[in-house]
């Protein structure tokens, strides 16, 4: 489900992740609601996946709606690296 270099956004609650999915789909952005990878232990068990190519638009849309994720990770090999930069 998560390919090399993809981003995985973890949200605080099921309501926020559903709202984020709805917003991003309305904007026709290429995202997928996925089960949060086991290693990332999200409270709600869900996350949003997107690619590097979609990142700018996805995060701008989320920021504009006050829906930025709690944490953001990037798939690198078998691991997920936390993206520490300010979203």
């Amino acid at each position: 489900m998560v390919r090399e270099g993809d981003y995985v956004a973890i949200f605080n609650s099921i309501h926020r992740v559903m709202e984020a999915e709805r917003l991003l789909k309305e904007r026709r952005l290429s995202i997928l609601l996925i089960p949060a990878p086991r290693a990332l232990a999200a409270d709600c068990g869900l996350a949003i996946r997107y690619s590097e190519a979609a990142r700018g638009e996805v995060e701008a849309a989320l920021a504009g709606a006050g829906l930025l994720p709690r944490e953001l990770y990037r798939r690198q090999g078998e691991d997920y690296t936390k993206v520490e930069e300010e979203l």
Binding site: M1, L33, P35, R38, G45, L46
Partner: protein
């Protein structure tokens, strides 16, 4: 040692053919296949079933020799998952675990939550160690295997791991989705009934 030539077939057909052949029993199997996804998928599937896999490059592909394997394979399922076309499990096919998905939602309650839970369940199957032999989709469940479904990618991956993904033809027809199946094959009620009654366990969702 039997030979099976799946060169030129696209995924998941190579895995499905190998699965059928292994389940027919009778010692090792030499599979001639294309490099790339067929080679990777068949190798992963065979190793997951406990087979030793030896590779040998051939002109225009590879030969994989599969030996050993789980004791439960011989005499198991004999069905056929489709590679996008119509495919019916053999009459009388018996198998281990079967998932019967009769809705595009999981559980009662708000529709949006139910749909989200079902999608989450199907994608989570990719992370669990023991996969079902078959997944049957009936009623609104077939919408999960049709074009536009967000789990089509996950169902395709399950197919590549040897899970037979089959949708009810009547149901696809009813929803006018017969021409837009995105994952797995089409089956009929005869095959569904036989598989359910012959399965070691059935999980209904």
């Amino acid at each position: 040692m039997r030979d099976l030539d799946v060169r030129g077939l696209s995924c998941p057909a190579p895995v499905v053919s190998v699965k059928k052949e292994l389940e027919a029993g009778g010692g090792g199997l030499r599979v001639l296949l294309d490099d790339g996804a067929p080679r990777e998928n068949v190798t992963r599937f065979a190793k997951g079933r406990g087979y030793a896999v030896q590779e040998e490059p051939l002109e225009g592909g590879f030969a994989l020799t599969l030996t050993g394997g789980a004791a439960g394979d011989a005499g198991g399922a004999g069905g056929a998952g489709g590679a996008g076309g119509a495919a019916l499990p053999q009459a009388g096919a018996r198998c281990g675990a079967v998932l019967l998905i009769s809705s595009d939602r999981m559980g009662d309650g708000p529709e949006e939550l139910g749909r989200l839970l079902m999608r989450n369940f199907i994608m989570t199957l990719l992370e669990v160690p023991e996969l079902p032999d078959r997944i049957f989709f009936i009623n609104t469940g077939v919408l999960l295997a049709a074009a536009g479904s967000e789990v089509a990618e996950a169902l395709e991956s399950l197919g590549n791991r040897g899970v037979e993904v089959l949708s009810c033809g009547i149901c696809l027809d009813f929803f006018k989705k017969k021409e837009s199946l995105a994952a797995g094959g089409v089956t009929n009620m005869f095959s569904i009934a036989e598989s359910l009654l012959g399965a070691r366990s059935v999980v209904r969702l």
